[in-house]
């Protein structure tokens, strides 16, 4: 029985083989390509009858605003939604993946999904990638055990909280929550508080901006308020618009086909596989 190392093909999961090489390259001065980050303000709040999630709508690529009105509140299940901060591709992919896993699970069990199920699926996925999947999430939902709100960090740790904020604007939003949160909030007070917290992030954090999205989840009912507040309207619109003035002469209108029609040869050789 020799103990020689046997070449076993990798069974899946993240392969860390190239990490040492990447670190060495960075040390030699390579600028790693930047990710599309959602430099964000996302919040969640538990109120009397359920959970309210809020998010801004700006996606940044370094110093540039890549998307002025993106959707950061992702669907996980009819009764569970998730806000995502960090790398946009990571938050999209991981929430879509868990959402489809939960759909299959619902078919298998015949029951409404629970928030802790989504929580466990997300956290074990993120942990196994050791923080390289850069997704910071605020997960909220209402199942038969009641309303739940959790935060999930990129390394896989979670918190269960009555109010939570994540993203680059989290301090501005948390300042609003810490000074104005109280127990027994009604739906309208909760929506008002969440909108204030997101607005605080939008106006005080450079990584957040544009509009406020809100999602209210209660027992058996969800309200997705896309662009609930639009505090950054486009103010300077040229009255002349972008059409040509009437004096412009149209000299010639000609349509040039780009390619002649293709003749099909019947009875040619079969295509090689």
């Amino acid at each position: 029985m020799s103990k020689a190392a046997i070449e076993v093909p990798p069974k899946g999961g993240f392969s860390f083989d190239l990490c040492r090489r990447n670190e060495m390259l960075v040390k030699k001065g390579l600028n790693a390509p930047s990710f599309l980050k959602t430099g964000t303000t996302i919040v969640g709040l538990v109120f009397q009858d359920g959970v309210i999630l809020g998010a801004d709508t700006r996606a940044t690529e370094g110093p540039i605003v890549a998307d002025k009105n993106c959707e950061k509140i992702h669907y996980i299940a009819p009764n569970i939604y998730c806000c995502g901060a960090g790398t946009a591709a990571d938050t999209e992919a991981v929430t879509d993946m868990v959402s489809s896993q939960l759909t299959l699970h619902r078919h298998h069990t015949g029951r409404e999904s629970r928030v802790v199920t989504a929580l466990t699926l997300l956290k074990s996925h993120l942990f196994s990638y050791q923080g390289y999947v850069s997704a910071a999430l605020v997960l909220g939902g209402v199942d038969f055990t009641g309303p739940h709100l959790h935060t999930i960090y990129p390394h896989g740790s979670t918190d269960t909280l009555p109010f939570a904020t994540m993203g680059s604007g989290s301090l501005a939003a948390m300042a609003v929550f810490e000074s104005k949160y109280r127990e027994g909030l009604t739906r309208d007070e909760g929506v008002q508080l969440v909108a204030e917290a997101i607005s605080s992030g939008i106006f005080n954090d450079l990584g957040s901006g544009s509009n406020v999205d809100i999602c209210v989840l209660t027992k058996g009912h969800k309200e997705y308020l896309r662009n609930h507040l639009q505090p950054n309207p486009r103010t300077y619109i040229s009255e002349k618009g972008y059409s040509f003035s009437k004096k412009t002469e149209v000299l010639l209108t000609k349509i040039t086909p780009l390619r002649d029609s293709v003749h099909i040869i019947e009875g040619g050789d079969e295509m090689e596989e």
């Binding site: 538990v46 928030v115 802790v116 929580l119 466990t120 055990t145 009641g146 739940h148 959790h150 740790s157 979670t158 918190d159 269960t160 909280l161 009555p162 301090l171 501005a172 948390m174 300042a175 609003v176 810490e178 000074s179 949160y181 127990e183 605080s200 106006f203 005080n204």
Partner: protein, 248 residues
């Protein structure tokens, strides 16, 4: 300044350069104070700071007065390295003394002191030997209120409300929403206490022992140290994982 004489000077460099190459001037802070926040209100300026001096992650000193008067018209609040703050107080003392020796009935106002501090901080930064502080300078002279800030790299500006350190992230959003020109003394104190409470909850180097200082045309008062009431007993925090057994 740390003079490192262990490495030999290379022969090709001139004598002057080689001694310069051995000197290391950048510092790290040791005993630090956390945020200071200040606002203009109807009659003058209000400044709030806690009394903690942290030594790394230890709360070493709990009786550090980080707000001090400067001359007749100003108050200075400092965060960052405490020993550098004490040095700055000595420079300011000398400045005020020289000014009063003129005996001309004139005295340095907050705008002048702020300008002096800016020059000192920026100069030190250019010599790669900064005073590791973020300062707030507020005061009233001849009915004119002034509130400015300057930090260790020499960035300086004036505004109706300023903060240092963590206060910029946690307190300024609140101040931007809720500050207005006609705050009374009580409203101003309430607003500052609201910000200090958020800092107490969310800044790990904050300590629950603060002073609030006020300066008006009549003079200044720095309050006795006191502590804020905090609310830790939200029902939702007491048993957060009920319904999510096993998670944390």
């Amino acid at each position: 300044m740390i003079v490192d004489s262990s490495s030999p000077a290379p022969a090709k460099k001139s004598l002057l350069l080689s001694s310069e190459a051995d000197l290391q001037r950048t510092q790290t802070p040791y005993v630090t104070g956390t945020s200071v926040i200040a606002i203009k209100y109807k009659d003058g300026i209000l400044i709030a700071a806690d009394m903690g001096g942290s030594y790394g992650s230890t709360l070493r000193y709990k009786n550090v007065e980080r707000i001090r008067p400067v001359g007749k018209h100003s108050l200075i609040g400092a965060s960052g390295e405490i020993s550098d703050f004490q040095e700055i107080l000595r420079y300011l003392d000398e400045l005020i003394l020289n000014d009063s020796m003129w005996d001309d009935g004139n005295s340095l106002g907050p705008k002048e002191v702020h300008n002096y501090l800016t020059r000192v901080m920026y100069n030190r930064r250019n010599k790669f030997n900064p005073l590791w502080n973020s300062l707030i300078l507020g005061g009233v002279k001849n009915g004119q209120k002034y509130l400015g800030t300057v930090n260790m790299i020499g960035v300086h500006y004036e505004d109706n409300h300023v903060a240092t350190g963590f206060g910029n992230h946690l307190a300024r959003p609140i101040l931007r929403e809720e500050w207005n020109e006609n705050l009374t003394f009580e409203e101003g104190v309430k607003l500052l206490e609201k910000c200090m409470r958020v800092l107490l909850y969310r800044d790990r180097s904050a300590v629950n022992k603060l002073q609030i200082a006020k300066i008006t045309d009549e003079g200044f008062t720095i309050s006795q140290p006191y502590s804020l009431k905090t609310q830790w007993k939200f029902k939702a925090f007491e048993n957060p994982t009920v319904g999510a057994e096993g998670s944390w």
